[in-house]
């Protein structure tokens, strides 16, 4: 093959699909779109539901403070996922590991701190039934943001699609848990770790799997 000119096959393939395109918006603008969905869902739930019964027993940093921390972390994780989706703007592997571990560590920290400050409060019927209830709420709240984030990620070209999906899943659920933390009356650690942190882990796994499937399809068909 001569390198002096564009090979005919390549030229024909390019010319068959040659039309002007608009560049994607920068990652921070696309983050705003995903976060807007999250904000609408969270504001709606917060307006409709009542706050946890032990909210007065929790110090401000642990109730609203930790909620704000989770929200900021969720937004950052979504931003990282969308940045990871642009070739040449990928995040170093170490930073990705730190982001994923931080998402889980914050969840665990909030759970442990809440159980320490409010150990006596336990709703009647604590166990699997309320756990499943929390889990469903968490999924319902995180799902719209998760779907929009993945759509934005896959509209670009993530070169490590599973990683971008994992970050998006973590961001959507950690952000949603910011409000669940203010609403859920269960403060026992096992409940928070299994059902709340479990939802984060589930969405991280779903994001990873969705990324792996997208990657396989994208690079097999060149779609």
């Amino acid at each position: 093959m001569s390198l002096d000119s564009i090979p005919n096959g390549l030229r024909e393939a390019i010319e068959s699909d040659f039309q002007p395109v608009h560049p994607l918006h920068p990652a921070w603008i696309r983050t705003i779109l995903a976060v807007a969905i999250l904000a609408v869902v969270l504001a709606f739930v917060l307006a409709k539901a009542s706050l946890r019964t032990d909210i007065d027993q929790l110090p401000l940093w642990l109730s609203w403070g930790c909620s704000a921390l989770q929200l900021v972390l969720g937004v950052l994780l979504i931003g990282l996922a969308l940045r990871e989706a642009i070739p040449g703007e990928g995040i170093p592997g170490g930073a990705i590991r730190i982001a994923a571990v931080t998402a889980l560590a914050v969840q665990i920290f909030v759970g442990v701190a809440t159980s320490i400050y409010s150990p006596a409060i336990a709703m009647p019927g604590s166990g699997i039934a309320p756990g499943i209830g929390c889990f469903k709420h968490e999924i319902a709240m995180a799902l719209p943001t998760f779907v929009v984030t993945l759509w934005l990620v896959f509209r670009a070209l993530p070169l490590r699609a599973p990683t971008a999906g994992l970050l998006g899943g973590a961001g959507a659920t950690v952000g949603s848990d910011a409000v669940i933390h203010l609403l859920c009356p269960m403060s026992n650690l096992s409940h928070v770790l299994v059902w709340h942190t479990g939802a984060v882990v589930l969405f991280m796994a779903l994001g990873w799997t969705a990324g792996a499937i997208w990657e396989r399809i994208r690079w097999r068909t060149g779609a």
């Binding site: 608009h22 040449g88 990928g90």
Partner: protein, 188 residues
């Protein structure tokens, strides 16, 4: 030199913007400007000239399909090299799955980085370059041969600029050590 590089980058950005607007000549200009350095880079993955040339076509097809993901006025080269790298890695993965192997070739038409050119004759340096692990060789070629900054190398490879610098330093050191050992053996 730095001015040349800035001018070259500005030219690539202008071509990329025109290409996104639907100018086929701009695509041709990008192809002309990038084909040889991309072949050199692809060679570090497949070590086979014919395969590198095939992958160059696949790379430009992928660039075309993803052209909306370039955001002006960001530098063009990290974007293009990151996609090129992924095309090569996907190809290697697929070869591994199919248990295919290509014979290694000597590096054809690829100049040796100036820092290494002074160390020994070209053939020896090329041979030693070929013995380095791919990750080290990739960083050396991107920085010393293709003139990328360590920050750009990091963006392409997905590592920090510090890690890229350390990899390049260790690779050069290893080549120097191998040359010293070889020199000692050659002495009567």
């Amino acid at each position: 030199m730095a001015v040349d590089r800035r001018a070259e980058e500005q030219k690539l950005i202008a071509l990329m913007i025109a290409y996104q607007k639907g100018d086929m000549d701009a695509f041709t200009g990008l192809y002309e400007a990038l084909k040889r350095p991309l072949i050199r880079y692809l060679w570090t993955f497949v070590r086979n000239q014919t395969m590198a040339e095939d992958l160059l076509q696949e790379t430009f097809l992928q660039l075309h399909r993803a052209r909306q993901t370039y955001t002006p006025p960001r530098p063009v080269r990290p974007w293009i090299y990151a996609i090129t790298r992924h095309v090569a890695l996907m190809h290697l993965r697929s070869m591994r799955r199919r248990k295919e192997f290509l014979p290694d070739e000597d590096l054809p038409e690829v100049p040796v980085p100036p820092e290494m050119d002074q160390l020994a004759d070209r053939a020896t340096v090329q041979r030693l370059l070929g013995t380095l692990p791919r990750a080290s060789q990739e960083v050396l070629i991107l920085h010393h041969l293709l003139g990328m900054s360590f920050e750009e190398v990091g963006q392409i490879v997905g590592i920090t600029s510090g890690t890229a610098k350390v990899r390049a330093h260790r690779a050069l050191k290893k080549i120097r050590e191998q040359l010293a050992e070889g020199g000692a053996r050659d002495e009567p």
